[in-house]
Amino acid sequence: MDLLNSLIDNTIMNPTVQIWMSVFFTLMMLSFLYRDNPLYKFGEHTFLGVSLGYFWFRMWEITIVPYLIRPVKDAFLDFQSFDLVMIFWLAMGSTLFFRFSRKKAWVANYYFAFIFAYFAGYIIPVYVQLLFIQASNMMQPIFQLPTFFEITKWIVIIFGTFAGLMYFFFSKPHKGLLGKTARVGIIILMINFGASFGATVMGRIALFIGRAQVLADNWQVSVIAALFIITFLFVYFKFFYKEQEFDDESIN
């Protein structure tokens, strides 16, 4: 055990090794932008394996042991009447495994019924309340709003919502006034999609900047890793890579 601990301390837990791994894996994943390759696949599978392993370890440590194994153990040692509640929900939760059987899958429906009933009962009233808060906020005297900007914002929100809804009104042909309103509606929707897309691009670039910062902070390591990856890609695609050939038989 001591040997294993010291091995871990001197490899994965070592700060220098961590920097090298961080840089290497970042560049491995980025190598996909050139072309799908074994280094990318290795990075991808390592990432999935490590994240799932980490997640299940934390889940076991924080959830399953304190909320399931320990109470069940205690119930065996010293049974109390309130342990029945835990046993009932454990049994209910276990019915989910019946989903693996086609014939007995209906058993799990009872547990799902509880879940759906709980969420329907909880979510519907609070969402309706939320909708009313949003709607009632708009119901105010327009010319008493504090600034010109607020007034124009109110107009855009009210008429923009109305025009957007009209675009999805298909009971009448989109001609005349309805057609023009629907046209305004689609412009409003496009502006909205454009704003969301812009924010998404900014968010993705910001995430990449996080990785770029790691590469720039350790630029010597990055240069060596990049040279290694470029050499690997060159050798792989020049000498080992074979284009996959599809014929009619293999597709069928």
Binding site: L30, L33, Y34, S51, Y54, F55, R58, M59, I62, T63, Y67, Y122, I123, V126, Y127, Q129, L130, I133, Q134, N137, N192, A195, S196, A199, T200, V201, M202, G203, R204, I205, A206, L207, F208, I209, G210, R211, A212, Q213, L215, A216, D217, W219
Partner: protein, 280 residues
């Protein structure tokens, strides 16, 4: 002209990736400081800052940490500044993790803060408390916190003095890259707590309606929101050396956007040029 247009139309997308890559990484090297432009703070960021600034010594702040390392680049600088501001104001900070994979990120951040000048005295259980993860939904956690705050998390310590339920929290901040803050907004009318949020740029537009109604007091929006918050703290006297994480990425964000504008411009130019030529 035609040859150039044809060449631009056939440009390999990998050159565009390379340009974006270079635009993100080059500003971190010397010689690109001219891209660090001055920018103002939005009223939503100022609102979050002011709300925490107005609290009094010993008041409790609830921090909801609903993100994992994949979103750390945008959200970590926000939490760092919020937590540091709370420590500066001598507020008590309670950190709850609704996402299990965010816990170690939180532990690392607090260790890092404790290593900085001026925060060496910070102790868990006195100045802050990590409440951990609970395997139940936020709605159930909130109901439970409103009946017994300490009992919900099975934690003890001096920091809990005078805090019986969640109603004793003076402010709450939730940080997420999903619709998670909505879980709190849904129950806000029922319980009446004050809250602000820090979200990724992707999720920002979804929360703007809640700012209009006053359900959210303030909002930190993406990397820029984090940079604005850093500037507010630096203006108030925080050491620039330790509070520039988001700002250091702003030059890259500017250059990457300029490159994108360039490509969008070229694409539009080719589109209209060819359209005009077909007409003629």
């Amino acid at each position: 002209m035609d040859t150039l247009i044809q060449k631009l139309k056939r440009i390999d997308k990998r050159w565009i990736y390379l340009m974006i890559f270079l635009s993100c990484i080059l500003p971190f090297f010397p010689g690109f400081q001219f891209l660090n432009m001055e920018f103002g703070e939005t009223k939503e960021t100022i609102a979050v800052y002011d709300n925490i600034n107005m609290l009094e010594e010993g008041d409790a702040v609830f921090v909801d940490w609903a993100f994992d390392p994949t979103l750390a680049a945008e959200l970590l600088p926000m939490v760092e500044q919020t937590v540091k501001q709370c420590f500066d104001k001598k507020l008590r900070v309670f950190i709850y993790y609704p996402v299990i994979t965010g816990m170690s990120l939180g532990e690392n951040l607090l260790e890092k803060i404790k290593g900085e000048e001026g925060y060496e005295h910070i102790e868990e259980g006195v100045h802050y408390q990590q409440l951990g993860y609970l395997p139940i939904g936020v709605d159930m956690v909130l109901f439970s916190m409103y009946s017994d705050f300490k009992g919900t998390f099975s934690k003890e310590g001096k920091i809990f003095d005078g805090i019986k339920t969640f109603a004793d929290m003076k402010y709450m901040m939730t940080f997420a890259g999903s619709a998670h803050p909505e879980s709190y907004i849904l129950l806000q009318r029922r319980f009446g707590f004050k809250m602000g949020t820090g979200v990724t740029a992707v999720m920002g537009p979804d929360f703007i309606p809640y700012l209009q109604t006053g359900q959210l007091d303030g909002m930190l929006f993406g990397l820029k929101g984090a940079a604005e918050y850093e500037n507010l703290r630096v203006k108030a006297g925080a050491d620039k050396k330790y509070n520039q994480k988001a700002n250091s990425g702003m030059a890259s964000l500017t250059l990457a956007h300029l490159v994108m504008f360039l490509f969008i411009g070229i694409g539009n130019f080719i589109f209209f040029f060819e359209k005009k030529r077909k007409k003629n």
